[in-house]
Symmetry: C2
Subunit: 453 residues, 2 copies
């Protein structure tokens, strides 16, 4: 049993935990980071392509408004490059594939105006919600009692708007429209600056840039700086607090510290034994903040043949297993790479297929959209985040009606000497890489304020 | 480290686990039950009154339709007695207390007919849902996408009906109307025989009888039969499966068995380390089947002074902390005992009060209803089930929209050699004591069917 004594012990070496450790060290505190996996990065995870380049098995995009992650990338000396997005995009409507130029609107005027009025209504609601405290105030309480679908049904008249918002929720919140409260979505928009377009878009928006070498490099670079202070393969099993400090016990390692930052999601925190027990409110919150259900799939081809046909690789097909695909070849690779996401109930159904059936499903869909050449991928790289013991899902928490308003305050409220970090605790860009980075820094600021008292 | 080798190891000595162990032994199998607490009974827990008699800190009532628990009570030689329910009942409407005779309807004709048509509509839906598989079929899928409140708003016109159903959900599902899907409620009704009155009523219904000596006696009697096969203070930490069997590791005890029955709720199963990991679908189900949030409070007086005023002790006040109270004096006690329930968001708010404020809140409410004598209780016995580390809430699971239909099948689907029991896995009287008892027997039947193959 390794024994350590430090100022701050951090649970989890994802972006949140490593940012916390880095911030604590910058303040002159000694730190130790305990990580269950044999790697750092959490829900950022580079997967190797056949040519040795990396694609992102998890979180990958950063946008210009995401100040924390952009600053960190610069500080770490990493480079970014623009997401590939040229050529026409495709929409699968029933069995029919339709093609649209980048500047062409796939909707009729009536549909577009239906979508626009609903987006404006959402943004007006977002302006009334403080992303620091979505649970406060009348508006928050009211819109937490209805599902997003309730609002959608009464707000939009067209099937196109329904399709748009179904895709919006699947793509950004990894859920179905009836699973979450309207407040959950509105709080997310408020925390992203209040503009839907900044969440859905590429250039000038949240999908603008990628990290050269893959997003896990951010975590790898922080871990390199932290050196021996990061211990891998050390799942934390217990956190005991007393008047003087915290004892954190992991497999093979025990650390004593003045404070702990727990930087893993609520669904993982539930597995840690706390002494004394966490407050009942916090426990209820953890029980109800489930991880969403996502499988991320890269389909790798010898070359990006769709580009030759003037296609961007973007395919929207809300009813299919892969509701959304993009061209995700890294800048330095000559391979063709399509990335797709399987989410929510579709992920549960997809997972029950055999490997052969899953492959068939994915390929059939891509052949329909991109033609016969899509039938013969070199490789399919499937990352099922729900099957990852140390994630239990990705990349959002699922907040059903009533959860934010009755239990939301427990998302960041410290429990004794235990402070909470993690992308879901962010107040800007919740459940984005940027949110993870800022949450780690915020947890350390909380500790500094206490230590000064 | 104690080592055991048995046919079946059972996790949890609540009613489900003990019933499973009893059923397995009756089939000639050797069993071991591992229980985290230093007592058996799970969510049945006798609390001592000042005169040494027992009241039930948790589940307490059984009804004539609950065949499994009734049979068990008889087999164990325990006695029952009718729930006290004579005299007038009270309703708090705003600050006004209204009194009603048992056979008097508190609603106007219009209100009564609004409630009745909604009850009939619920029962018609329940007739379409198979409680074995609520996730199957069109009706189930559709009514799982809306909250109970959505349905209520479109089905009922009167505030009285809203109050009735708010109380119905708080009392039976321990939740607010916007927190769960309509399917969750309809499945519960279907599993209770399809008749709302059989759930809400006393005589001839689910609240008809109590156990002499308190409901925990059922578990205590089963544990006595099982003798050394029940190990207390042994929280199970890990379950490892291989081709030949299961190894279950608890603090201080390790057991090897052919099969395991896990008879604790999903929120507790989440804390156990499974090797290999449970399927992603099961894991998602566990994340989303949170325990509901309940505090059960007994207020103990020298005598049941309300009876002298011709009052039953029943008080319905949906807006107050104690939404529902009853006279809960055990048959053999001369004390006056009022039991009340604080549920859902009201429990979260109540818990944030100081002990003094909580006492004030409870007493003020009882004084308003029952008069000045209610101001001086001998004792207040508060059981906060959410604060119980080995329960994490009571007595229901909270199934938000989409959960039953997308993940419900995982509620009982065995994972290798691990079978599931627990009141929430029942197909009749879900989350009742009866459901706990039948679930344990059903899990053992599954194992017998496998063993015969």
């Amino acid at each position: 049993m390794q024994q350590h004594t430090v100022d701050v012990v951090v649970v989890g070496a994802g972006l949140a935990g490593l940012s916390a450790a880095r911030a604590a060290r910058a303040k002159g505190m000694s730190v130790l980071v305990l990580e269950a996996r044999d790697r750092v990065g959490g829900k950022t995870w580079n997967r190797e392509l056949p040519d040795g380049r990396a694609v992102e098995g998890g979180g990958q995009w950063i946008g210009p408004d995401q100040l924390h992650v952009n600053a960190l990338v610069r500080e770490l000396g990493l480079e970014t490059y623009p997401t590939f997005m040229s050529g026409d995009s495709m929409r699968l409507v029933g069995d029919e594939v339709r093609r649209f130029a980048q500047d062409e609107d796939p909707w009729t005027d009536e549909e577009r105006s239906d979508i626009n009025q609903a987006v404006a209504a959402l943004e007006r609601l977002a302006a009334k919600i403080d992303p620091q405290t979505p649970w406060k105030g009348r508006t928050g309480e009211e819109i937490d009692k209805i599902t997003f679908e309730n609002w959608l049904t009464t707000t939009c008249a067209t099937a196109a708007a329904r399709e748009f918002f179904t895709g919006f929720l699947a793509g950004i919140w990894a859920c179905d429209v009836w699973e979450v409260s309207l407040l959950h979505i509105v709080a997310g928009i408020a925390a992203a600056g209040g503009r839907v377009e900044r969440m859905t878009g590429v250039e000038g928006a949240a999908q603008q840039d990628r990290i050269v070498g893959g997003s896990q490099r951010i975590a790898l670079a922080m871990a390199r700086e932290l050196g021996d202070a990061v211990v891998l393969g050390a799942p934390v099993r217990a956190v005991a607090q007393d008047a003087d400090g915290v004892t954190v016990s992991a497999d093979g390692v025990e650390a004593r510290a003045a404070y702990a930052v727990v930087a893993v999601p609520p669904a993982l925190t539930s597995r840690i034994r706390f002494t004394p027990a966490l407050s009942p409110g916090r426990d209820q919150f953890m029980q109800r903040a489930a991880m969403t259900n996502t499988i991320k799939i890269h389909v790798v081809y010898e070359r990006p043949f769709w580009r030759e046909q003037g296609l961007s690789g973007e395919l929207r097909s809300p009813g299919s297993a892969l509701a959304l695909t993009f061209d995700n070849a890294p800048r330095d690779s000559d391979l063709g790479v399509i990335v797709g996401f399987v989410e929510a109930a579709r992920a549960t159904a997809f997972r029950r297929l055999t490997e052969f059936e899953r492959r068939r499903t994915v390929i059939d869909q891509l052949v329909l959209a991109f033609g016969a050449e899509a039938a013969a991928p070199l490789e399919i790289i499937e990352v099922d985040w729900t099957a990852e013991t140390w994630s239990r899902g990705a990349h959002q928490i699922l907040m059903a009606p009533g959860t934010w308003s009755s239990l939301g305050r427990h998302i960041r409220e410290p429990e004794g000497r235990v402070h909470w970090a993690g992308a879901e605790t962010a107040t800007a860009w919740i459940c984005y890489m940027d949110g993870a980075v800022s949450s780690g820094k915020r947890a350390v600021e909380e500790i500094c304020r206490r230590a000064r008292r």
